[in-house]
Amino acid sequence: MLIADEKTVKTPVLADNPYQPHLARIVRIFKMVPDNHLFTLRFEDQWTAERFKHRPGQFMMLSVPGAGEAPISISSSPTRPGVLELCVRRVGRVTDALYRMQTNDVVGLRGPYGNGFPIETLIGNDLLIVAGGLGMAPLRSLVWWALDHRDKFKKITLMYGAKNPAEMLYRDELVSLADRSDMQCLLIVDRDPTGQWKHHVGLLPTLFDHADINPATTYAAVCGPPVVYKYILQRLLALNFSKDRILMSLERRMKCGVGKCSHCSVGYKYTCIHGPIFTYWDAINLPELV
């Protein structure tokens, strides 16, 4: 039979569609900080839920029916499977619509996407995690992954700065980490209007004065707004960090998450597939990266 007589190719769209959002139910909404809620989601479909695997630093494309799709980092650690936690800041169309939803409502999820942290490389080293503001969202996954594999790392240091205690993401959880003896958790706020804050007050980079970091054995993971990058990088470089031991999580506009739509391109890399985790060396080589 000639090919010409064959039927048209039809099915693959259904079968293997990387753009296909899977339905997920909101099982909990934790109002961590105003306009920064933590959404706990579970895939509706058992098959998808069971097969879902991710690494720290990866992100999901979150669909809110009627509103659209947006990339959101996975905040929960792969070591705590079953549900996904997304820390979402309310900023626009999709996130607004998400904030109008309630527990038990259904959203769409696809992913995980992005390279995530190179955990194979990190293992056996010291880990320095530095976050500012919302930058804690993608790093929290790494924190818990490392703590759940505590034996695989030497020293673990976490530095996190927020404007004030009320705006600190995962505050209670992190405060309890400060009591742990197997890691150093340094928390700082710019200001403490309540006077109840028992941790540091001041600017994030000053936390370096309280930590003993060995650049030769440490990988640093950094995430935060542009000012954070600016000052933290200065500190790290002053410590003589090798540029490829500094890992940064970047943000760009994204429409597909899988390297097609081109919105997140920086120079010749796509934030979605080559990132969002880049080394500082990558950043130097990619124009417009930060």
């Binding site: 009627g66 659209g68 607004d96 619509a97």
Partner: protein, 250 residues
């Protein structure tokens, strides 16, 4: 869910945008079923001009104190104010020569009058009050209006294109009037959304939807002038539906 309370209000204009709403013949009955129309003078005589509105669609530009007062009242009573049509968004045709002396223009049209006319240089809504959404078009496009209502019912503002008419013109694979016929087609500086209505009919775009945010008016004007049109006329054409800031004029 409670139906949102909606007002459709006209300042000074041609009523074209309200007419476009009435022109949604296929959707009109669903539309009026989905929303609670409180105030729509053009279509009904049962109007409530006081109570709160969730959304007010305001057409026309402000050309008198009366318009301005009405607009301020509407702003106070509504949550979301949508500027409906190019007059509301940019000032439209009435702003065409707003830098000209208003009393002189009046005299030109009405002769010497011995009574006071309530008139002022035409203004867009945003020059008087805060506007939450701009729906440009002279008149607005039906599909964009319907999408706006559907989105508002969902709690969202609609996504509207903010690129040039050329983009849609190219998507339709039209011959380019500017390049091939050296016509002053305002497509490169006018905001899309009309599916390049005019160029698709071999008619140069007159910019009835107003400029896109990123319009490079200066470079475009230079290009039109290259084709032998006096710069003064180029600027005039550009100013037909929306004022051109002096800083953008070459």
């Amino acid at each position: 869910m409670n139906k949102p309370k909606v007002g459709i209000i006209g300042l000074t204009g041609c009523s074209g945008d309200q007419l476009v709403i009435l022109n949604c013949e296929d959707q009109l009955l669903d539309l009026v079923g989905a929303i609670d129309i409180r105030d729509f003078l053009t279509a009904t005589s049962a109007n409530d001009t006081e109570s709160r509105l969730d959304v007010a669609f305001v057409e026309g530009s402000v050309v008198s104190q009366k318009d301005e007062d009405l607009l301020r009242r509407v702003r106070e009573r509504c949550t979301i104010l949508v500027a409906l049509g190019t007059c509301a968004v940019w000032g439209g045709i009435p702003t065409m020569d707003r830098d000209q002396d208003r009393p002189a223009l009046l005299r030109a049209v009405y002769g010497d009058l011995n009574w006071e006319y309530d008139t002022c240089p035409a203004k867009a809504l945003h020059e008087v009050v805060k506007v939450d959404l701009n729906l440009p078009g002279c008149p607005i496009e039906k599909d964009q209006f319907l999408a706006t209502v559907a989105n508002l019912l969902n709690g969202n503002l609609p996504l509207l294109p903010d690129y040039a008419v050329c983009t849609e013109c190219k998507m339709k694979e039209n011959n380019c009037l500017l390049i091939e016929k050296k016509q002053v087609c305002l497509g490169p500086v006018s905001v899309a959304g009309c599916q390049a209505r005019c160029p698709s009919l071999n008619i140069p775009c007159v910019g009835c939807r107003g400029p896109c945010t990123d319009a490079n008016l200066k470079s475009a004007a230079a290009t039109y002038a290259e084709n032998g049109v006096a710069m003064e006329d180029v600027i005039r054409k550009m100013k037909t539906f929306a004022p051109v800031p002096v800083s953008e004029q070459p």
